[in-house]
């Protein structure tokens, strides 16, 4: 197991989509390799950061137009 092997499997590793032996080998390598430890941790963090609700906020004007359109069209359909 070398750094390249870890990088190649990093996505499957983060998804828990590896056989146990390969998973153990990656962890054993990353434990003593600072570069791999950084890449694994920061890739995991990257995913977490993009789930933050502060990114891509819904603009107030867009929200107001959405609700105005829905009220007009959906209420019409109900009545």
């Amino acid at each position: 197991m070398n750094c390249r092997d870890v990088f190649r499997e990093i996505s499957n590793y983060l998804d828990g989509d590896l056989d146990p032996e390969l998973k153990r080998a990656i962890e054993a390598h990353a434990c003593g390799c600072h570069h791999c430890e950084v890449v694994v941790d920061s890739t995991r963090k990257t995913i977490e950061l993009y789930c933050d609700g502060r990114l891509f906020p819904l603009p107030i004007a867009v929200r107001q137009r959405l609700h105005a359109t829905l009220q007009q069209k959906c209420r019409l359909k109900v009545s």
């Binding site: 990088f7 600072h34 990257t46 990114l55 959405l66 359909k77």
Partner: protein
């Protein structure tokens, strides 16, 4: 849900309030265009209201509207690119392995830096700079929390194509974010 299915607008509106931000974010990230994202948002909820009586409650409501939103967004994306038709199952154009280049430690608590407008803009730009097929897979898998199988089925991709795009999207985003957080 029962009241919304019976056509009660107020009940439907509470579902809209719960999911509107996520659907806008998804539309914006697939189309890469704020006007298209607004259209996707409106069309998704209009279609949802229209088809709500057909919604089977044994599936998740959120997955159901995500599916509607993805279809709307892909239609927009393809319409905008008539000159260069976009197919999410195009072979990955980049050759060679994706190798991380930045190994600097990140600052502790990078989420605190998201309070800054400049940081948020850099993260938003990083994902917008990815090819549409990469960012669509990343959004569905990592942000919306769909499984690999659901993502593959929704986008008409194979499981291995989803995994390959997700891998590249994650590593490319990590590389860009390393510039922000180291």
């Amino acid at each position: 849900m029962t009241a919304a299915k019976a056509g009660h607008y107020e009940a439907f509106e509470s579902l809209v309030n719960r999911y509107e931000h996520k659907i806008y974010r998804l539309g914006l990230n697939i189309t890469g265009n704020p006007e298209d994202a607004e259209d996707v948002l409106q069309e998704t909820f209009l279609k949802a209201f229209e088809n709500l009586p057909k919604f089977r409650e044994d599936s998740r409501f959120y997955t159901w509207i995500v599916r509607i939103a993805v279809n709307q967004a892909l239609m927009k994306l393809r319409k905008r690119r008539t000159d260069r038709s976009v197919s999410l199952d195009d072979p990955i154009e980049e050759d060679g392995e994706v190798i991380p280049r930045d190994f600097a430690d990140w600052k502790p608590n990078p989420e605190q830096l998201l309070g800054r407008t400049e940081t948020r803009e850099r993260l938003e730009k990083a994902i917008q700079d990815l090819p549409p097929s990469f960012r669509t897979v990343f959004m569905l898998r990592d942000v919306e929390g769909l499984s690999t199988e659901e993502t593959a089925e929704m986008l008409g991709l194979t499981i291995s194509a989803v995994k390959a795009r997700l891998f590249r999207a994650r590593l490319r985003l990590r590389e860009e974010l390393s510039k922000v957080f180291k």
